[in-house]
């Protein structure tokens, strides 16, 4: 088990918390909360150690496209980069879901 922290410049504040994904093997959950900070901050707990650089690549690409100003908590259970990207995109889309 490894804990990773990242910070990215962000410009788009969010107005509500979002929770997507599940705790299942090959998957992850993303919890996104509004923040006072001017950045996107991420706290990641992952069951697969040694993938810090892969995370950095996936996240850099995501925040370049969607600079969401939020506090992210991610619990990962060995998701592939494709699944990580899909869950982040889903969290972003969920901001627009009707209540």
């Amino acid at each position: 088990m490894e804990k990773l922290n990242f910070k990215f410049e962000a410009t788009q504040p969010i107005d509500k918390p979002v929770h997507v994904g599940v705790v299942a093997s090959g998957d992850l959950e993303v919890i996104m909360r509004p923040t006072e900070s001017k950045d996107a901050t991420l706290a990641i707990v992952t069951g697969s150690d040694g993938f810090g650089e892969v995370w950095n690549n996936v996240l850099t690409r995501f925040f370049a496209r969607y600079p969401l100003q939020a506090d992210f908590q991610i619990n990962d259970f060995g998701a592939t980069p494709g699944v990580v990207n899909l869950r982040l995109t889903q969290a972003m889309e969920a901001l627009n879901d009707e209540e």
Binding site: S25, T80, G82, Q90, E93, A94
Partner: protein, 207 residues
């Protein structure tokens, strides 16, 4: 060529039959000396079949491809359940094996099987299951859509048996989704793992 479903365990003859661009790690050669098994991964099966190799440790995962002609034997997750009887002694006392035996009556009427480290140990006899291993349940998608209330009840009973968090993966050919995600209904779409990577879908029972 008959298509193999993801999670099918395949016996081949040697490590040379695994096609890969990468260097084969030492642990792969080590485990292949005692068990020449690979697991079918999701992905197109045109010409070659995508497979994964697992080692004793969680980080030991290696991806490659095999040719259909090299298949000696296949074992599906469903076929693995019958092998639970053969687990004895201290291995049978491991939490994941105890849970597996207890879920059999709960899942009666469903077409289901066992994946992950339990499947591997049941098929090969190698001690792959750890104290911390979870039971990976893989269920063939029932013909009629499961009501959310039914799915919720099923998962709640499963969690009581497991004494911890538990989920079921529902599969239909190469497609697979989490029953827990279906029950939670956290957002309008949910994830479906497919032959061509993960996708967000509105209704996982329609695809």
């Amino acid at each position: 060529m008959e298509r193999l479903e993801p999670h099918t365990l395949v016996k081949i003859s040697s490590v040379e039959q695994v096609d890969t661009d990468e260097e084969i790690p030492e642990w792969v050669s080590t485990i292949f000396k005692v068990a020449t098994y690979v697991i079918v991964r999701r992905g197109p099966q045109e010409g070659k079949i995508p497979v994964g190799i697992r080692g004793y440790e969680k980080y030991q995962r290696f991806a490659g491809w095999i040719a259909a002609k090299d298949i000696v034997k296949t074992i599906t997750p469903g076929e693995t359940v019958a092998y639970l009887n053969s687990v004895s002694g201290i291995r049978a006392k491991l939490p994941a094996f105890r849970v597996a035996n207890k879920v059999i009556p709960l899942l009666k009427g469903y077409e289901w099987g066992i994946g992950g480290s339990l499947q591997f140990e049941l098929a090969t006899g190698l001690p792959m299951v750890k104290q911390s291993s979870d039971l990976d349940i893989i269920m063939q998608r029932p013909q009629t859509k499961m009501e959310i209330s039914t799915a919720k009840e099923l998962l709640e009973s499963l969690k009581i048996i497991a004494g911890t968090h538990a989920d079921i993966q529902i599969v239909n050919g190469q497609n697979g989704f989490s029953l827990e995600e279906y029950v939670q209904q956290r957002s309008s779409k949910m994830m479906m793992k497919t032959e061509h990577g993960p996708q967000l879908v509105m209704d996982p029972w329609e695809i």
